[in-house]
């Protein structure tokens, strides 16, 4: 399990349930590595601000993380973390590797609406 303050997705069924129950979801799938940590930090900062978005992380190395690793939108990704944005259960945006606060904010605002 990742040592972050975010809520963790620990299985494919968790992942499925979260997507069914929530309209706007951001999931960062990574490790405790230098390119991933900044994204988790940004999500922790944004979590209280974007109350209409659910923020989760998922350990890249657990077998069930295939739901993200193998998503068609992540084809060609070769940099951690894989960050995926879902609206009504469908992927609307996915990014590979480190993103800064402005990049994450821009996606949240454009896909899920401003705070």
């Amino acid at each position: 399990m990742l040592q972050t303050n975010l809520k963790h997705i620990e299985s494919a069924s968790d992942h499925q349930k979260i997507l069914e129950e929530n309209e706007n979801v951001m999931i960062c799938c990574g490790r405790m590595g230098p390119m991933c940590l900044p994204v988790y930090d940004i999500m922790e900062e944004f979590e209280p601000l974007y109350s209409h978005v659910k923020f989760y992380d998922m350990d890249f190395d657990i077998p069930d993380a295939r739901v993200i690793r193998n998503a068609p939108e992540c084809r060609g990704f070769m940099g951690l973390p894989f960050t995926v944005y879902y609206k009504n259960g469908k992927i609307v945006k996915a990014t590979s590797s480190i993103q800064n606060e402005q990049q994450v904010r821009a996606i949240l605002d454009s896909e899920f609406g401003n705070i």
Binding site: L37, D41, I42, F77, M78, S97
Partner: protein
């Protein structure tokens, strides 16, 4: 210039530190332990470039540790002395003249302080070549530790000729079948032991006096254009990945016209880490200096904190006369 009567006491600090890398955190530890009310403001992740280092083996007194672990301990240490830390902020205005300095954030919050320490650090330099942003995370990486295993059994290029480039090229040979180092000069800037290790590794090959002028691919990177800097000739080179280690840029754009910078954008300081503005110190990778290590940043941060304390003492003494 701000006047004392305009201070909001809740948002006033003895010292404000901009940046939470090793220099900023060290300054925070020293100042808060000396009972100076201290605030650290940081635009990115706490720990700065240090968290990008997988393993630190030359930090005196610690046999081996990770950059993330070390930065976490420093953060806890600073907080344990009462230092406040705000991360992921964005600075919109900076007023550094006079005895009361002011930092205004993009969220509208404003903070004042009697001393400011600038420790915004640096960021990995990018090449600016065609296709670089398109293939970031799709074959182009700036972190061997993070992304090395995506390239298992593949052939890659590493760009750069310093310690990072050569050491990371060697570490990537755990995964890949072939590394080609592309470097703009005919010699390396790295230490001799790193050069020797790379040159003696059978998986590592070299293309010197050359640079990458473009990245190509569809879903992910498939080739690069390598330009010979002596002849100008450009040739396509098939590759599955490119790792770029070509140094760092100081994060000082927001200080232009406020503080004296050199032609590289680095902050000019004296031996006491004082900048061109009284009461404003600077430390770490953002200052004009030759060597950039965690340990040198810590030394800079210590000196800047002690100079800031001296400055605070001078203000207090002046007021009491």
């Amino acid at each position: 210039m701000l006047q004392p009567e305009t201070i909001n006491k809740t948002n006033h600090y003895d010292a404000i530190i901009i940046g939470a890398g090793p220099a900023g955190l060290t300054a925070g530890i020293y100042l808060s332990r000396a009972r100076a009310r201290t605030l650290i403001l940081n635009e990115g992740v706490v720990g700065g470039q240090m968290v990008l280092t997988h393993e630190i083996a030359n930090y005196p007194g610690v046999e081996k540790t990770g950059g993330y672990q070390l930065s976490n301990i420093m953060k806890k240490q600073a907080r344990s002395f009462g230092c406040e830390i705000r991360a992921n902020i964005r600075i919109s205005e900076l007023h550094l003249e006079g005895d009361i300095k002011q930092v205004i954030l993009s969220d509208g919050n404003a903070y004042t302080g009697n001393a400011v320490i600038l420790a915004p650090g640096g960021r990995p330099r990018t090449m600016g070549a065609d296709g670089e942003s398109t293939f970031k995370g799709r074959g182009i990486s700036y972190c061997a530790t993070c992304d090395g295993d995506f390239f298992t059994g593949k052939e890659i290029v590493v760009v750069g000729g310093g310690n990072s480039a050569l050491e990371e090229a060697v570490s990537l040979t755990k995964y890949v079948t072939k590394v080609t180092i592309v470097h703009q000069f005919d010699h390396f800037q790295a230490y001799q032991h790193a050069i020797d290790e790379a040159q003696s590794n059978p998986k590592i090959h070299f293309i010197l006096n050359s640079t990458i002028s473009a990245f190509h691919g569809s879903e992910s990177l498939t080739s690069v254009d390598i330009q010979n800097l002596k002849t100008g000739e450009i040739r396509e080179f098939k590759t599955d990945g490119a790792f770029i280690f070509i140094g760092y840029l100081p994060n000082t754009e927001f200080l232009a016209k406020i503080i004296e910078l050199n032609e590289k954008g680095e902050i000019i300081v004296n031996g006491d880490m004082e900048t061109s503005v009284r009461g404003v110190l600077a430390a770490g990778d953002c200052i004009a200096k030759r060597y950039r290590q965690v340990t040198t940043a810590i030394g800079d941060g210590t000196i800047a904190a002690l100079s800031a304390l001296n400055h605070l003492h001078q203000i207090k003494t002046r007021k009491s006369i």
